[in-house]
Amino acid sequence: MTGRRRIPWLRAGLFAAVVGWLTLMGLGFERLLAHGAEAGSEGAAVQHWPGSPELLRDPARASLVVFVHPRCPCTVATLRELARLAPRLGGSAKVTVLMRLPSVPEPGWQEGDIWRLANGIPDVTVQPDPGGVLTARFGPVTSGHVLVYTKAGRLGFSGGITPGRGHEGASAGQAAILEAVTRADRSLSARVFGCELFDK
């Protein structure tokens, strides 16, 4: 008798458990998706190349600067995409990766995948930026932000080159960069995915 009475309760309990379980998983994946699609702040990129003896522009070609937080995991995808993009530029742009470092050198900031990836891309200059002084002059605040300036020093592109946070793959940014490098009359942008370059 008791056993027979237990069955409906058991079924109801199991049904509730399954529904609760599916809901919990749905919420988890929803949070994951939301985070993946959450772009960083685009900051305020300067419209003209700021004069700086530490980072000189090549007036014969466009200048592409990638602002990187060397410990941001999402930026790995940016550098992998940069490695695919750089050969396609065919020397039409001077490519620089600006590594935002602490003002005072700290262990772990000048090594790792990001440094290795950046140094491994041909014809790319990797330049440390202690304290983010140079970065601040250009205006980006999110790691992975790419600025392309035309031969004339005017901003042609501002944005990211990954489709999502930490995700590799073709993106609107890459296509825009190729267009910005070859055409001087366009100013394009795309969303940036990465860690914040500066403290609040």
Partner: protein, 735 residues
Amino acid sequence: MNSSTSSDIDAGTAMTDATRQRVEVLYAEQYQRVAVHSDRLFAGLLVGQWLFGIVLAVWISPRAWRGIESETHLHVWIAVLLGAAITSLPVLLVWQRPGTVLTRHAVAVAQLAFSALFIHLTGGRIETHFHVFGSLALLAFYRDWRVLVTASTVVVLDHCIRGYLLPESIYGVSAVEPLRWLEHAAWVVFEDVFLISSCIRGQREMRQISERYALAEAQTKLEAAARAANEANRLKGEFLANMSHEIRTPMSAVIGYADLLMDPQLGASDRVNYVQTIRRNGEHLLGIINDILDISRIEAGKMTAEQIVCSPAQLLVDVASLMRVRAVEKQLFFEVKFLTPVPETIQSDPMRVRQTLMNLVGNALKFTTTGGVRILVRTVDPSGERPELQFDVVDTGIGMTDEQLSRVFDPFAQADSSTTRRFGGTGLGLPICARLAGLLGGEVTATSTPERGSVFTLRVPTGALAGVRMLSDLTEATVTEPAPSEETVRLDCRVLLAEDGLDNQLLISTHLRRAGAEVVIAENGRLAVELAQQAARDGNAFDVILMDMQMPELDGYGATTRLRHQGYDTPIVALTAHAMAGDRERCINAGCTDYLAKPVARGLLLQTVAHHVRAHGSAELEQAKVYSEFSDDPDMAPLVEQFVRGLPSRCAAALDAAARRDLIGVRSFAHNLKGAGGGYGFPQITSAAAVLEQATMGEDEGRVQTALDEMVNLCRRARNSIPPQSAILERATYS
């Protein structure tokens, strides 16, 4: 299931419905084992993937940065918490409900949820998609294609939803073709086709294996049943042959010696020898018949055991007194030893305990030619929840091998047939013992060494022993009450023998008369009732009635019931040829005091009658006498005595009236005594008579009977206050 294969098996082996059902059971068991095994595998795998996900997240994206400050990356928390959520329910189900449909479908959902999580954590790497295909392949372990459908549904839903919301997280690119999810789904379906086919084939193979097992089992059972039937036939054949021999041998002796007795030239000495031979063989034959009847009754489940208070010491006295004679005849020693204190009384069935012990001891004596037999008695766990009495019957006989010992409790099987030839017997004694012990809630076990002897142990529950006196330092001598020899039993009593068979009338009455008893014979139950009533009315009541239970007109059960209903309390001993154990209960229920099975041995008959005459007499003597207030008055004494001597006939008349339901007669008796009792110095009689008179005014027959019994008892005690004319006569008058 492949139909051609199934029909082949059916046609080839004529599979029965029972076998088909067995196939289903075996298949279900086999599938359950597979499902449970796969559940456990996946439970481990899920936990492993959870931990792997955490490691993966920590490795790929340990911390999120804000300038030079950092915090744990959200992916790490997601890997910990979402991974735990994914793992929780399936692992819980595997633990609590392994092998169920819900469990494996939950496992399938969880497994593909981990695929989705890993693909996301690795940024949609195409390589991580192999986790999906690996998972589907692993889920095929369940051999349940529905599980693959569930898993594939999760994959398709994941691709559709994420492909719509964040395509780069699953396809690696943000701009995807509208039907890209279909391409991924198609690859999953491509794999599913093969996996589902594999599952169906796996189930079919499992069913074929189950069919083979079921058929093999059926075949084995069939062979075992055939062997058992053959063995049973062989044993029964042997048993019948043995029985035939066992019955014919004493029967031949009885008939042969009876023929010899008819010779008029026979001398007195030979005549006695022949009669003793006939008697011995008759008793042997009776033992065989009793055994057969008992085992058949036990096997039919019609034998029951009582739970009444009885004395274990008295039981041992009974057993020892009978068995010692046999031991002496064979020049064997025989002793009873009490190894621990034993309870004064136990709750059991004394008849069954006695029968079991007699069988065990008789068996021990039968198989012992030198040395002797001991009964060792001990109380086991007297203060525990289930105290027992243990009787070890230890002999120094021929003993048995282990193989022989294993068969001694099987009916119809003695140690071997040569044993039967050498020692005789039916081979039913020990099986009966084992079953009787079972009825008593105990058991019989045995150990034995060939040529050294055997120990048969009977353990009987005693019932609770709290408050029961434990008898210490008992010896055989202290508990043995020498039974009166049948030669020395003298009966000074009147016996009514109700028996319709002329031979038995002659035989039993001769035994009784030779012992000194006065015997009156009634040929049927109706006459017995009339004679008993008449004798009581005449003040010449019987001391004992021997009542045959099968008689014409009114049988012994009816006669006894009628006498008891009339308040007749003289001992009535049932005589019946229904020697089946259990008939005793029927006789006792009818109102009999005791029970004797025909043919009745002379000694047992005389001892039984003597016992009941003594017991009934003692009971009466124990009644307190009631004296008149005028007993010391010389003038009144003669009047009082005359009044008291008239009480028995008045009581008998009242009892007779009560039996006829003549309430007016009973009321008249009460009314008269109510007035007379006080006048003769018996105020108790006046009071009791008033109660009886009052009772007769109502319609409660039980109340009348109780008041009348009280009244008659009081009159008897008053009658005892004056010297009896004849003790026997006085007792009988009030019966």
